[in-house]
Amino acid sequence: MKKMGLVAATTAAMTISFSGAAMSADTLGAVKERGFVQCGVTTGVPGYSNPDNKGKWKGMDVDVCRAVAAATLGDAEKVKYIPLNAKERFTALQSGEIDMLSRVTTWTLTRDSSLGMNFTGVTYYDGQGFLINKNLGVKSALELDGASMCIQSGTTTELNAADYFRENNMEFEPVVFDTSDQTVKGFEAGRCDVLTSDQSQLYALRIKLANPGAAIILPEIISKEPLGPVVRQGDDGWFNVVRWSLFAMINAEELGLTSKNIDSKKSDKNPNIARFIGSEGIKGTGLALTDQWAYNIVKQVGNYGEAFDRNLGAGSALKIERGMNALWNKGGLQYAPPIR
């Protein structure tokens, strides 16, 4: 008892003497010194972040990590991927285990404020949907009253599902698993009627089923799920680097710069392209990067459209339409502020 009292006293003393000593973090400096970016990804969602059979990570989220590495270190391969499940991801970011989180994470108010994190942009505009076996004959999510649903724990889907069913006076049985792999296994074993997740992930998870053709994705989208990279609060320099790495990819698509043609555009007359490549105007100094930061991203990773196509779109097994994720001037929502 006495000991507890002492602990409390010491703790209090420490609190008083050190609470004023908070120092601002410099993640960018740490990354440059360390020589690689620590990037939190999923434990395996095809299309976003998934190790292939050689153990090499691939996917849309992975390409964002690579873009940041290309911008900061000039080499897109200098990334250390740290697979995290949904439950661990925020603690890992808060604790400093990772420099950035690029892990199909939905941008919400709570996460942006009281969790001590900042979202840097949107890599993919998504919405929650439902995957169900064809033979149940269900055509709409409103017919799902009483269904069992496989959900990944610690996600916004868990909350959206509860809201949606309550709003429509329906009931459901939540069957909650740690990883998306397990939700697929549970769905396949018949533990639940419905698998719910962000719709793009449902397409990705469906190819993990033994018989993908037997399952359909219902038309309803019950929520807004803007997915994006996340960094810690209070480090504006690093925040800008991650944010503009993504913007550079989107701008590159708008400017028609691809990994294949960017070398041939080095002497292009278009001032937007010249600024992008770093040959004139604003250089990398504002971000504390080299002048070739944006060039490196496009050269080594590609523009947004290329990454999308390779990982999620026509060039991948998922074959997802661009839809909302087309550029703003092509009827979509992807819009990046100008580089000038």
């Binding site: 250390k80 995290l84 661990e88 890992a92 400093g96 792999d181 993990k208």
Partner: protein
């Protein structure tokens, strides 16, 4: 029988011992053994028949599936045609299950590390070989350094292999061995502290031991994997594997302390008193007299803790390290090999079982050995 008959039969009297008659036919051989051990009465007979029936139901289909109708060799799932187990899956990924994502060209380093370990352990286990003290000192102090440079590399011309590439059975073994070896010295200190007469030292040790023994390893691993960086200054950066190891060692040292305490209690009080009578101080008494005797008695306990830890390392999959179980699970979700989860899990179970079973047999053998060796305590 009367006396007369005995006398009249005197021709049969002999001063030599007659050989024993053979026992009745129904109490020897297979039949006799079965009568005694399987069918001694009605209840036993019923139980035996029931047991045979249950065994028949369980064993015959399993053997059929796992051995008789199984496919063993091939390149893809197309090789699995006979309807039994598809060991082709294991066969194809065997290297990955053993070494994880460790670069293929560097795998000889893992082999060498474990080969060295096996030699040393064999030296310690085989009773006839001399200089056991020297070898154990080598295992405890020099070998870890060699192993570190071999596995991690980065100097002596070896390529650096980052720990997130480690995996499979080798990672499982590394975690368990590091856990037990590093926990031993802490365990000894804690056990000595718990038996100390200094109240503060004692209560500190008791609190420490009971705290770690009271919480599940999962929460320890979770804390180590994501919360440890909150506890250290921002500049300090731990590797994820190292953090898991720190968690395991902190956790394991409490269990080790209890094993050591058991060993210390088995040393008769006379030994302490004799050592003090010789004028030895506390550390000399412990180091020269008590611990050498106690450590020998503790080996079975240490082996048992090691088995428990070895099994528990499978929990690291929850914090995202690819140990044997996790890497097999990852292999199971490969679209090319869907639907072979039973084979995968059976393989993991067999691997764990082989290690644990042989170690537990060894520890039982030691227990018996020490039991007779010391006679009455």
């Amino acid at each position: 029988m009367t006396g007369e008959t005995l006398v009249s039969d005197s021709s049969k009297v002999t001063d030599k011992m007659l050989p024993d008659l053979p026992p009745p036919a129904n109490s020897t051989g297979v039949i006799g053994w079965m009568r005694a051990n399987l069918f001694s009465n009605i209840t036993n007979t019923i139980m035996t028949l029931l047991a045979i029936y249950i065994l028949y139901i369980l064993v015959v289909p399993s053997v059929n599936w796992a051995l008789l109708t199984a496919d063993w060799i091939g390149d893809s799932r197309d090789a699995c045609t006979s309807g039994g187990a598809c060991w082709v899956f294991i066969y194809n990924r065997f290297d990955q299950f053993m070494y994880g994502f460790y670069p293929e060209a560097e795998r000889w380093r893992i082999d060498l590390t474990f080969f060295l370990l096996v030699i040393q352990v064999a030296w310690l286990v085989i009773p006839k070989l001399p200089r056991k003290g020297l070898v154990s000192a080598f295992v405890l102090f020099v070998y870890p350094i060699i192993a570190y440079y071999l596995l991690y590399g980065g100097s002596f011309g070896l390529n650096l292999v980052e720990t997130h590439k480690w995996g499979g059975l080798s990672l499982t073994l590394i975690l368990a061995i590091v856990g037990i070896v590093a926990a031993l010295p802490f365990g000894v200190l804690l056990a000595l502290g718990r038996r100390s007469e200094m109240p503060i030292v004692k209560s500190f040790c008791v609190v420490y031991i009971e705290f770690w023994r009271g919480i599940p390893l999962i929460t320890v691993l979770f804390m180590a994997s994501v919360m440890l960086p909150l506890f250290v200054p921002e500049e300090v950066d731990f590797d994820k594997l190292l953090r898991a190891m720190i968690g395991i060692v902190l956790f394991q040292s409490a269990y080790m302390a209890e094993v050591v305490r058991g060993g210390l209690q088995a040393i008769p009080k006379g030994q302490y008193e004799a050592a003090q009578a010789l004028g030895l101080n506390y550390w000399k008494m412990m180091g020269l007299v008590v611990l050498p005797q106690a450590l020998k008695m503790m080996i079975p306990g240490i082996v048992n803790t090691f088995i428990a830890l070895f099994k528990d390392t499978s929990l690291v999959l929850i914090i995202g390290l690819f140990d044997l179980l996790a890497i097999v699970q990852a292999g199971l979700s490969d679209p090319d090999w869907l639907g072979y989860s039973v084979e995968g899990y059976a393989f993991v179970a067999l691997m764990f079982w082989m290690f644990c079973f042989s170690m537990s047999k060894y520890s039982q053998h030691l227990e018996k050995h020490f039991h007779t060796g010391h006679g009455s305590r």
